[in-house]
Symmetry: D2
Subunit: 354 residues, 4 copies
């Protein structure tokens, strides 16, 4: 089988830390293009990884008949445009999370995936984690009993990324902490629960601490320093709370890119009638159960895995086989729906039924 | 001034651990009656505290013209009946929390308090805590900025009280963890926030782990051993989640008398634009703020106080002066409303507007 | 078999919270005397427990031929005197911990036990805990491999008991946090390790925070309020550190009745080549191990037990059978040796060889 | 002033993550040589940083009359040899920590520094941390009172670096967790305490978990994968305990590169009579004090600093001015003494007097 030819569109941090190294390591894949509207970033990638050609315009990539598939690693506002163009040009797509800025864009992407029959995988990378899949298995085989509630906490005292830049500009990113962090947590919850339909959502998103761009006090800032020259925009949520009803399970959540509480929390609690699990995001889980009249805790920790490699390898295989897997758009769309409903509920200040 | 003559109605654990010792210590008060339908409990109190007369029927107490006031320390189902009878008989009342089993009973109590002009204080004992009042002051003087969200956690792995008994029987208690623990946490939140009107409530209460009375695994049980003779009833909530909207602040909560998660949590986070506070229930608080470009944490711990003595002393003074204070029914009723709305929302499986 | 007749000497808090209720519950035992130099305490016990006779002088108890055994629950300075007198008078003895104020007293007690053939059990109550015995079993069956180090932490920010009173007066108590708390932790370590001989001990004990009796800031105080009338004595250790060498295992420890560090710690780490255990004092343990290439944690929690009842029941049985068990003086003496060596090393400011 | 000409000797991870980027950023410095016995590493540095010349033999560097100073970033076994040669060749030296494998080597380095008058700074990088200097100031101005004890914890469940390689080979590294991690913690303690003379040291170092190179279970491994081809050496300490006596303060410590206890700890407690401080290694500190009868906690967190840049900038300035600062060999030698004494005490199995 000849190698899958890849174009990487967007050569920023997620491309360099995750997608590119994984493709380079994959013997069935070959990167043919690095594409970025900042050409120097594309050129640096060519030099660093010693392969491919640097281009500025993604149309060059998707119009090359040799290309089989693209990774879309741009800011969120380009996810739907590029993914749709690529599929219409006959390419398979791995699009970073979130699927899109708003649900309507995500639905359009799904529609085009169905129409074109191309693979459209979303970067729901936790679906390739061993811990997450162990929890999913425990739930589906009944080991935890009935999961009646899931609590999701993704709260940091100070973690607004690149204050004033693309991450915090609604027209680019679509939202803040919910769409950037919440997307992963919600996706894990939905995946482990078997993707239950949300029936009603009540939520509130606050743009509270970051909007004072000058006065924001922080210790570290990922995705670069704040934009302090007066051009910075901050109009997204840095705190979100929500309560979601599905048929069998309620899900509640609190999330903060920034909050004036010093205790950081990043976990998901799956609370079942027979047992429960706390998953530390990006790490291991503890299972709480009972045995012979005793309460028991069990926590396994295994050798670190690279979930991005798992995700990329699976995508490459999908390109070869046409298979639909757990990161296919039809699975990821439910999180887009749910996040849209939270934002809608926040705007209307009332519960939204789905 | 002659001493305030008190009748203690209900001589169970809250009477013995809190009300009675506080009255005994108060030089302006004198307990004249110990009343309990189990006469031996009343008689034991007479012997232990070396004062008063033991009676079985509370009408004896409220019909004695010498009696100024009563403490109602019975199970929840008698709160409204006895309080109302007592006020109609001309007595001031300190009624233990929750005000009543359901909102309608609480509203009736309030109505009779207004009609009779008698004091009706509710056992919202945390309103007499130094930590809680310090937080209330910080909020009202603007030190925390705008409080946009409050998160309430009262979650224990195993703490169902007297499984199968009065605490877990809905017709007696009115509810489970929400009405027994949640009442205190919600009351603190509302008090500190200045008793804002709840506008909409979405909640879900689960009767999940205690209903298997035989199979329930636990380590300790307060309020006595489980009722294992087949007569035990367990039809109340042992897990509750909710999201509350007020005009300026949302409040979310998760509570568990029992859950298959081993990390216990009992705190309230007041999340403000200038600063935030985490109050450890029954303990001290940490204030998170910023100063000169640094994030700061500050945690003061002062000599232990007896909040029950504060509450009882304040009640005795109210009886003497007729003053309405922070534990008067008009302040406490808001928590009854909110809890009722959570239960209603749970039953209807949708948000309830108020 | 006729009931074992018991005299309880010293009717303070440990007698009332532990010894007396356990004897009362034991069907093979009967308390004949309550003895206290404060006669009213003895009389209160007679009234509360509805049995026995109150006496002031312990010689009355030990000279009564009907008495089989005594519990010595006095301050530490009377442990050796009363225990020795009682054994010489033909009585079996359960003496509260620590064995005595100093090693020489403890050795004299052991000598008399051997001479008279009477039972002399020490209140090493943790030797009757399920958790502790599970750990001892895991160590002796090799499940943890070779235990090369044990770390003991018993550190509190503020817990000096009865500042200025018997607990903090060296001539009465023999020492402070080491002799009062350390004795339990060291005893658990030695018991689980199979009572290895200490070969060398280096330690330092500090009398640092309590000596400013007036200025000592605290939140709660057990064993009563501080003695602030000028007669209070504080000349014992409130901080201790030590390093102990045995043939196969080193033991290090840090203990504080008071310290200007807010993180309280009360645990024992048994660090082995195959696995390790952290025991939370008075609670449960977590076992850390490896399995199939994964690190594992396991924490069982079982129904609460009353270790004092276990201890008292075992003592009553020893009285009936003459058996030497794990709380017999010959086992407990090793902790007395070790604590003496720590104090000696502290005084000499150098390591002490044993 | 012309730029200080630097040679970087050893182009491994500490050079690339710390020294080189700091020199590059410093406008008064210029890297003229990258030297490594693996020439490709030196060549990669030339390419990555776009400056300097790659050489294999450090004599080329130290014999170039243009060179003012060198950074020694090699494995520990070359620290003394290269530093001494460099000073004798007239160069100033910044030598990474630990000073050397054993005390005798460190003393020789100090001697040559004195003889030649060249700067010999050691990589005690924490002496350039804001948190550490704030603590030092609080201690020296009396704010904490008398510091009677310091407890040092550097314990990890699994963190052995490059199992089987240079880090774990005694003839190369000189030791394990004590010399690699302990050196930093001890240095911080000594620095903050004002470098008090150690008078007696009792310690024990264990080579326990890493020696089973094949069977060692881990989750992540820094400094590369284990050497599993049979040539790996593991003969260093992975656990260490010690008790140190100085004139006014005792210091106890427990350290583990690996231990079968899952709770990681990395902090230093400075326990004083007026107040105390817990420093989280590499992070912020909490100060525990008392005020107006209350216990208080205070924790400031300020913008992240780069302590390596501070260290390098200070070194460059020393080269320009000849000044002796807090990282000069005369300050660092005390930690070398102390670590040597711990290893000696471990070998002799008894306390060592200094």
């Amino acid at each position: 089988m000849s190698k899958v030819k890849i174009g990487v569109i967007g050569c920023g941090s997620i491309a360099n830390s995750a997608h590119i190294p994984a493709y380079v390591k994959n013997e069935d894949a070959e990167i043919k293009y690095f594409c970025d509207i900042k050409l120097d970033r594309a050129e640096k990638a060519v030099k660093d990884y010693n392969c491919g050609t640097a281009v500025e315009d993604y149309h060059v990539v998707i119009n090359d008949p040799e290309i089989d598939a693209v990774s879309v690693c741009t800011p969120n506002n380009m996810h739907s445009i590029i993914s749709i163009d690529a599929m219409r040009a006959g390419k398979h797509v791995l699009c970073e999370k979130p699927t899109a800025r708003v649900l309507s864009e995500a639905l359009e992407m799904q529609k085009v995936a169905h129409e074109t029959g191309k693979i459209l995988n979303i970067g729901v990378v936790n679906r390739f984690s061993k811990s997450v899949n162990m929890i999913k298995d425990m739930i589906s085989n009944g080991e935890l009993g009935d999961i009646y509630h899931v609590y999701i906490a993704f709260r940091s005292q100070r973690s607004i990324p690149g204050l004033g830049g693309a991450f915090t500009t609604k027209s680019i990113a679509g939202g803040g902490v919910l769409i950037d962090w919440g997307v992963h947590y919600i996706d894990i919850a939905m995946y482990c629960l078997g993707d239950p339909e949300p029936r009603a959502v009540s939520g509130k998103a606050y743009c509270a601490l970051g909007k004072d761009i000058e006065g924001y006090t922080y210790v570290n800032m990922w995705a670069g320093p704040p934009v302090l020259d007066g051009t910075g925009v901050y109009d997204v949520d840095d705190f979100v709370t929500a309560l979601v009803r599905t048929d069998n399970t309620t899900i509640s959540m609190n999330g903060a890119w920034a909050q004036n509480i010093g205790e950081g929390e990043s976990y998901i609690d799956f609370i079942g009638t027979k047992a429960g699990v706390r998953l530390n995001y990006g790490g291991y889980f503890t299972k709480y159960s009972t045995e012979n009249g005793a309460l028991t805790e069990m926590k396994p920790q295994y050798k670190a895995e690279n979930i991005f490699e798992n995700e990329i390898n699976a995508f490459v295989k999908c390109v070869q086989t046409g298979e639909h897997i757990q990161s296919y758009i039809d699975s990821a769309i439910i999180t887009a729906k749910l996040m849209q409903a939270i934002y809608d509920s926040s705007d209307r200040n009332e519960e939204v039924k789905l």
